[in-house]
Amino acid sequence: MNKIYEKLSTQKHMLIGTSLIRIAFGLLILYFYFIHYGQRRFLWGPNGMQDHETLTKQLFTTNNFSIYQLNDSLLYFEIIFHIGVVIAFFFTIGFMGRLTAILNFIFIWSLQHANVLILDGGDNVMRIILFYLLFANTTAFFSLDGYRRKQKVSSITLSPSLSNAFHNLAVLASIIQVSFMYLTSGMHKIMGEVWQNGTALYYILQVDEYTHPFFKELVISSDFLLLIGAYGAIFAQITYPFLLFNRYTRYIAIFNIIAMHIGIAIVMGLFTFSATMISIQLVLLKNEEYERAYTAVKRLLSKLRLRKGKQYEVEQIEQV
């Protein structure tokens, strides 16, 4: 117990990861707001797909709440929607960290529940992780707050050991959440007949909304690809939580999942879902790993530049 206590409270882990996931989620949220900007009144407005009264009643019976339900005027809707966009922008750039994070969560929660039919699993898990991350520090890196903090010493309100523990538990919660997600998703696949016999993709790819004519032809034409797709997805999902336990197998878990989601994005066209799931992997890497990767990339780039430079010199000499 003491060891766990120490580990939780002495320092904040994964600070780069939590900052990166903030930016990735922020950009995805902004994309969501803007790609549907033209249909906003139809999708979430008071006289749109669902009329205001029905929505309010539904939210009430499910003990739910959305700020969009508070007033049925179009003006109110427009104001809330646009405030939501501004908050999402502040969230992305890391301005006024915790306060913005809380507001952003409330606005995203409200938007999602003003129309659940347009959502997918990615929005669902993002909403839950956004909640967990309210307890974490997501503005330590690449943020306006971080930049301002450098300018002047900021006042710390919460005792560091408490804030460290909350931060670390929030990160852990996000990781457990996504592990549970893959584990249940994999388990339910194993329970399905077409997943067992490896023809699941054959059936899914016949559904027009989840396919693309080119990739459908390609995948369905090969029994081998169908098998790799179905069994590969199950394998990647079921093994994910267990591979995370070890320092090195962790990379395999991340690799598997990213490969699976790239496939889902390209073949099935569920790219925002995939982007969300891949973004979550950002929180799995430690600061040292990011730093190592960064220096490795930098070294590689400078090597390339050096070689190019040398080549240039040689060419110059040859020309002379």
């Binding site: 139809f42 839950i128 050991s161 549970f180 998703s185 399905g192």
Partner: protein, 217 residues
């Protein structure tokens, strides 16, 4: 000392939270049957989640939504396909609103028949005639489900009417009717059989008075 207590308390809460999450996410089982209402009460709505993505049985039918309108002058339009053009647009470019818009129809239609774990088990048993339908009607056919169904039909009609009014901007539309044509997938074993006919199923909705809904396009 106080800090330590708060942290240890948080760890305990944390563990209970994920214990509940695990039970909530598990397939239907005895613990869920007994304590489901407590677990759901805790998890929903804040931590609501569902990860049966395309499992255990993935969607495999194609739904085409067709709508026709009766204009004020008594004329009835042709059937207008709401689904195909969106799917085409989504094939051409994944980075458009259609990428998500195309999924709404299926979602709303599926929601008409959606049930939770316990209700689903019950209705299976009733269908197998192992249980008496009248005894469980209060769960299987109650007000809340009827309302949910009506809301779903409402959404589909508003969706259709919003589209129809954008197709006939100057016209005075009196009412519209929606049908859903479901085409079942070709079974794997029949894929090279050229004479195979896919099963289709037509779901007809009632005519609905026209309402002015915010335009989708």
């Amino acid at each position: 000392m106080l800090k330590k207590i708060i942290i240890i308390f948080s760890i305990i809460l944390f563990s209970i939270h994920f214990l509940f999450t695990a039970i909530y996410l598990a397939p239907f089982n005895p613990v869920k049957a007994k304590f489901g209402f407590i677990i759901n009460g805790y998890m929903e709505p804040l931590f609501s989640q569902n990860w049966r993505l395309f499992a255990p049985n993935p969607a495999s039918t194609n739904n085409q939504f067709l709508v026709r309108a009766e204009l004020a002058n008594g004329e009835t339009t042709e059937w207008i396909n709401l689904t195909s053009f969106m799917i085409e647009k989504n094939y051409k470019n994944r980075f458009t609103p259609y990428n998500r818009l195309v999924r709404i129809q299926r979602g709303a239609f599926t929601a008409l028949h959606q049930k939770d774990d316990i209700t689903m088990k019950l209705s299976e048993k009733v269908e197998e005639k192992k249980l008496n339908k009248e005894d469980f009607d209060y769960i299987l056919d109650n007000e809340m489900m009827k309302e949910q169904r009506e809301d779903g039909i409402d959404i589909l009609n508003r969706y259709a009417q919003s589209y129809v009014s954008s197709l006939y901007p100057g016209e005075d539309i009196a009412r519209t009717q929606l049908i859903v044509r479901q085409t079942e997938a070709t079974p794997y074993s029949e894929q090279s059989n050229p004479t195979f006919k896919n099963k289709t199923n037509i779901h007809e909705f009632e005519w609905r008075e026209f309402e002015k809904v915010s335009p989708v396009f």
